[in-house]
Amino acid sequence: MVVNQIPFEEFRMLIRRQGLRVAIGPFNVCIHTSYKPLIEQLYLLYSHYRIVQDEIAEFHVRIVTERSLRNPFKRNVRFLLDGQSPFESFPQEQALAALEWGINLAIAVRVNHLLLLHSAVVEKNGHVILFPAWPGSGKTTLCTVLSYHGFRLFSDEFGLMDTQRQLFLPIPRLMPLKNESIAVIRNYLPDIVMGRPIPNTQKGTVAHVRPPEKSILLSKHTCKARWIIFPKWIADTSVKIEAISDAEAFMMLASNAFNYEALGAAGFGAVANLIRSCDCFKLVYSDFDSVMEVLHQLTNET
C-alpha cells in the first residue's frame, strides 16, 4: 500500500493517531503530527512511499505545535525524536523543513551498521555514481536534474554503504533545493512536484522536490559503485572532468562522511576498497545539458 492509494482523511487519521509508518529506503520511519498544513504537504510529497503500519520502525518522530516563548500569539513547531527535542523550535511555516532535517539528523547520529558518506548518489546501467559534497557544490541541484533525466535516485544526501558486501543502498528522500536553485530547477524541470518554497530558514529559502516514483519503487535494488565524482558548479564555465589521485579521493571521501571515524578499521577498509573499485574525478560545470552529456558518455563507455 502506497500513500496515494489511501484517501486524505484516512492518511490524516493515521498520522494523527497511531503515527504514519513509511518505508524510506532501508528504514521505516514513524511520523506523528496533528499540524494540518504539514499533513497536507506530506500527503503530496510522500505520495509514493510504501505504508508499513505493521512493521517495526527504526525512527519515531513527531512535529508538535507550541506557543512561542517570545510572542504568545505566535505558534511554533518542535521536532521530537523518541520524545526528545534535539533542536529549538521553528516558526510553524517551517514544519516540513524541521521534519526533514530532523529525520536526516536521526539517521546521521544513529546509524552505524552502514557507512554513511555525505554524498549524492545516483545509478545508471547498474552502477552507482557518488557525488560527495564539496562546499558549495550544489550537489542536490545536480542530483535533482539527474534523477529526472535517466539516472535512478539513491539519495541527494546519504551514501549508505553496506561495507561487507560493498553495496550501496538507495534512500530516496525529498530533495531540498536552496535559494537560486529553486527557480533554476522550476525552469529546467517544469513538470516535477515541488513543495511550497519556505523562506527564512537557517539555509535561506528551501523547497522540497518529490523524488521520482520509479526511484522509490526500486529502492530495494542495491548496486556497487563505479565512479566517484566531486562536483562543483561555477557560473559560466565549460564542463570539465578530470581524474584525481587515489590518495586525495580517499581523504576527501573519508572527511565527507558522517560516521567514517566511528566505524574504525571497518570504515578505513571500506573506503580503501571503494576507491580501488572506482574511478575518481573532479567535475566542474555550469549548465545541465553538457554535464549530462559528459555523464552519459562516462556511464555508457562500459
Binding site: N28, H32, D54, E55, I56, A57, E58, H60, S68, L69, R70, N76, D82, G83, Q84, E88, S89, R110, V111, N112, H113, N259, E261, A262, L263, G264
Partner: protein, 368 residues
C-alpha cells in the same frame, strides 16, 4: 518490598535481566525495548546480552541493525577514552604523581563483565590535590584546553566542585574530567582522598591505578545517591550491580569490607540506598545481614518515600506517553540531590542562576 513497575519499564527490565524472556517478545515489544534502552544508554549492553545468549539471529533484523549500530558507537567511545588516557599519561610522563582511573575506563581495566558494552562519554580521573595545579598546567601546555566557561561556572568548579573545569584536547573531542576528591566540597560529607590513594591498585604494564574494589563500589554509590539527580541513571545502578556481583564472587570478605569502609568514610547512607535498590531492581544477591550493619540507615518514612520515587526517576519515561508522576519524581530527586550537596545559602542562588540562564539561552536561540 515488591517492585511495582509500569509495563514499559517491565519490558526494559526483563530484557536486561532475563534474556530468556526475549524469545517471547513480539515486534512491538522489541521496538519499545530498543527505544527505552537507548534512552538510558543501555542499547549496546542489550546487544551484548543478545549476542551472548545466542539469539541474535532470531531477533528481527530492524532490531539487530540498531543494536549493532549502538555497539559500534560504544566501541568507538571506549577506544577514544582509552586513547585519551594513553595521551594523558604520555603528557604527564615526566611528572611524579599518582593517577587513578574512574568509572567506565576503570571498569574496562578491571575487566568487569559487560564493561565492553558500557557507553562512556568522558574520561574521569582522580589525582592528588597537591599535584592538581601541575597536572592542569602541564596538560594545557601539551594541547588540552578548557571549554569556554562563564565566570559563575568557573567559580562553581574552582570553589565548590570536586573536579576542575573539564579539559578537551585541541585535536580530539573526548572530555577529560579531573577530580581531586569524590564528593563536592559543599557537601556536608567529607572524604579524605588520601585513604583512596593508599589502597589504590596498580594496573599491569601501566602507571595508571584503580580504586580498590570496595572503594570502586562506594564511588559508584555516591555518584548515584549523592552527586547525581537519578533521572535515567538506570545504567549506573546496573554498573553497581555488576561491580558487586563481580567482586563479591572474588573476594571472600567483600561485604564486610564494604560495610567497614562505608562506615569509616561516613558514606553509609548512599551505600545503603545502593544495596537496597540494586537488590530491589536487579536482584543483586546481597546477604541479609549486610544493610543492617551500615550506620546511617534511613528511617521508615524516608525509605517509603524513596521506594516510590527512585524507580520512577531511574527508569526512562515512555517515549510516546510521558507520565506526570515520573516527571514529578525526577523533580523531587533533582532537588534532593542538590540539597544534600550544598547548604541552602549556596543552593538557592545556584538554582536561580541555572534557571535564569536556561531561559536566557532559550530566548537567545529562538531569536537567531
Amino acid at each position: 518490598m515488591k517492585l511495582d513497575l509500569p509495563l514499559h519499564c517491565q519490558i526494559l527490565l526483563n530484557g536486561l535481566t532475563d534474556p530468556a524472556c526475549l524469545r517471547r517478545y513480539c515486534d512491538s515489544d522489541w521496538e519499545l525495548l530498543v527505544r527505552m534502552a537507548r534512552r538510558v544508554k543501555l542499547l549496546g549492553r542489550l546487544g551484548l546480552l543478545v549476542k551472548e545468549y545466542g539469539i541474535w539471529d532470531q531477533v528481527p533484523p530492524r532490531i539487530t541493525t540498531q543494536m549493532a549500530s549502538a555497539l559500534v558507537q560504544v566501541e568507538k567511545l571506549q577506544q577514544l577514552n582509552r586513547w585519551e588516557l594513553n595521551r594523558v599519561l604520555w603528557a604527564l610522563n615526566d611528572l611524579d604523581t599518582s593517577i587513578i582511573a574512574l568509572k567506565g575506563v576503570a571498569y574496562t581495566l578491571a575487566e568487569i563483565p559487560y564493561a565492553s558494552g558500557r557507553l562512556s562519554i568522558d574520561l574521569d580521573l582522580l589525582v592528588p590535590q597537591s599535584d592538581l595545579a601541575d597536572i592542569e598546567s602541564l596538560l594545557m601546555v601539551k594541547g588540552w584546553k578548557h571549554r569556554p566557561l562563564s565566570a559563575y561556572d568557573e567559580h562553581y568548579y574552582r570553589v565548590w566542585s570536586h573536579e576542575i573545569p573539564p579539559l578537551v584536547h585541541a585535536e580530539r573531542e573526548t572530555e577529560v574530567d579531573i577530580h581531586h576528591t569524590l564528593i563536592p566540597l559543599t557537601s556536608r560529607l567529607k572524604i579524605n582522598p588520601e585513604l583512596l590513594f593508599d589502597t589504590a591498585i596498580p594496573v599491569n604494564n601501566s602507571t595508571i591505578r584503580l580504586l580498590n574494589p570496595v572503594d570502586m563500589v562506594i564511588h559508584c554509590a555516591i555518584n548515584l545517591f549523592q552527586n547525581n539527580e537519578l533521572a535515567n541513571d538506570l545504567r549506573d545502578l546496573l554498573d553497581l550491580h555488576d561491580l558487586m556481583v563481580f567482586f563479591s564472587a572474588r573476594t571472600i570478605d567483600f561485604w564486610t569490607q564494604l560495610i567497614d569502609r562505608s562506615n569509616q568514610l561516613k558514606l553509609s547512607r548512599a551505600v545503603f540506598y545502593s544495596l537496597h535498590f540494586s537488590q530491589l531492581i536487579f536482584k543483586t544477591p546481597v546477604p541479609k545481614k549486610v544493610p543492617v550493619r551500615l550506620h546511617a540507615r534511613p528511617g521508615r518514612l524516608k525509605l517509603w518515600i524513596m521506594n516510590r520515587l527512585v524507580p520512577l526517576a531511574l527508569f526512562p519515561q515512555h517515549p510516546d506517553k510521558p507520565m506526570l508522576s515520573a516527571s514529578l519524581a525526577r523533580l523531587l530527586m533533582y532537588l534532593r540531590s542538590h540539597l544534600i550537596r550544598m547548604p541552602l545559602y549556596i543552593l538557592v542562588p545556584h538554582l536561580a542562576y541555572k534557571s535564569v540562564r536556561m531561559i536566557r539561552f532559550k530566548s537567545r536561540k529562538s531569536r537567531s
